[in-house]
Amino acid sequence: MTLTNKTPASRSALAQRGGSALGDRVFSWWTLGTGLLVLAILGLILITTVREAWPAFDAMGPRFLTERIWDPNPATGEAIFGALSFAYGTAISSLIALLFAVPVSVGIALFLTELAPRRLRGPAVTVIDLLAAVPSVVFGLWGILVVAPAMVPVYQGLHDLLGGVPVLGRLFGPVSSGRNFMTAGLILAIMITPIVTSITREVFSTVPRADKDAALALGATRWEMIRGAVFPHSFGGVVGAVMLGLGRAMGETIAVALVIGGATNISANLFAPGNSMAAVIVQQFGESTGTFTAALIGLGVVLFAMTVLINVLAQTVVRRAEARMKGSVA
């Protein structure tokens, strides 16, 4: 058959096939549409929350961010809405969560990808994923009924041991109850471990066999192989996993509300009660009206902004670190 043959049959062989071309168009519109939908929803959330929060922003001005006092119903004078204490509570409890969850998650992921016998991997993954399926209110109740009381002697012991050390001792101040920044951080750590583990494991399992073989063939021990071949390959992905965990920790509401202690407080003392933005919203939204409601929505806006900021920061860090590690590709 030649292309210059002008019979109808041969021409149609090169013509567009109607059915599949339509399918292609539908598919591309569908994917474009869903992609735009996400952006639209994000944009709408931002616009409406800022608008709803405006009365509070208007009343407080930049003080909304710098003021540590939160007093919706003062005996005399104007109500004061400062987000700083709660932003601090969100940051410190999430930070504690990362501090515990990341090493544990990376350890579990390494064990599952590099060390565990094949038949142990499946069950272990199932158990960890089950942890992710536990509702957060259950974690909160477990935290308030079991963990908080049980940890008091531990906190007390740490305070007795380290409380006198200069600078460091300020982190391990007096213990008033089991409900504090530390307990909130611990509960959050347990809650984010499954997601961080799961993604880290996926990332580690994409390290090419060839890279690991290369390290081993140079006389690397298993740990040297992990440091030399697995970590450089996985850095970006692990940071991504940590960011997802951090996002979940910062946004966690009910579990934190139950165990963080419910105090408007900025303190270096990890054993002091405090509050987080998400927890305050869920605790106070039901009884709020007017500017008070606006201020709570304002907390939501600040939380949203913080999350976005941290993610952008993390992406920059990853790009820089990867460029440094690989050497520039130019």
């Binding site: 094949r118 063939a217 690397a220 071949a229 050497g327 590709v329």
Partner: protein
Amino acid sequence: MASNDTDLTTRPSVTVHAPGSTASGVEPTGAPVMQLRDVSVYYGSYEAVRGTTMPIQQNQVTAMIGPSGCGKSTVLRALNRMNDPIPGARVSGDVLFHGQDLYARDVDPIQVRRRIGMVFQKPNPFPKSIYDNVAYGLRINGIKGRLDDHVEEALTKAALWDEVKDKVRKSALALSGGQQQRLCIARTIAVKPEVILMDEPCSALDPIATAKIEDLMFELTSDYTIVIVTHNMQQAARVSHYTAFFTAEVDDKQVRHGRLVEFSQTGKLFTNPTDKRTEDYITGRFG
């Protein structure tokens, strides 16, 4: 590492067996640096390669050729215990290195690989700079002295220094495939092994890059012993002093095994093979 130069154990004990005997039909140029004696490799209960006996002569290139699935790569990986991480992989028989069995209980595979390096089929530099790729092995092996000098020496020996000396801090991934493979060779010789195993090192490279690697192999034999697995018979004929021809055999239970058919000096194997199967393969009637 212990002071004894041939000691591969983590503890300073000495386990030296009798020196390996040489295979029949081959005139050795000296005591072989390695000796395989009735080596079989298993994956679980499957015997992938059966009963291989052959020497690896010092400062010579030994080629392993044969059709796909004949077990030549499997045997190669058994020479520095690279099969160890594969679940169920097992070796029987003796793999002797300076007379010491590499699979003896007290031998540390880390030390084995430090002395018997490996270059792989696909160039696999780490996603790091050229410098760090070469320095990696030096660092983990705690090699003393000026790192810069060692890196330059290794890159020079791998015939890569002139091409990369102005960009050693740049990514190794920006190099061409042939340069990457020479970098992998540099990385291997940086830790100063005695034997370098090469698993089809040119199969992903173009003819010019291949020629450069072949020239390099010839130069490296002054310091190193090389074992190369190759699909390319012309390459084996060009670069090697000894050639081992493997093939896949089906036994009475219909199970395929890799088998060493013939081992001899390369010139003899290609011009005057003893075995009919070798002749069929090298003349292109099979495989």
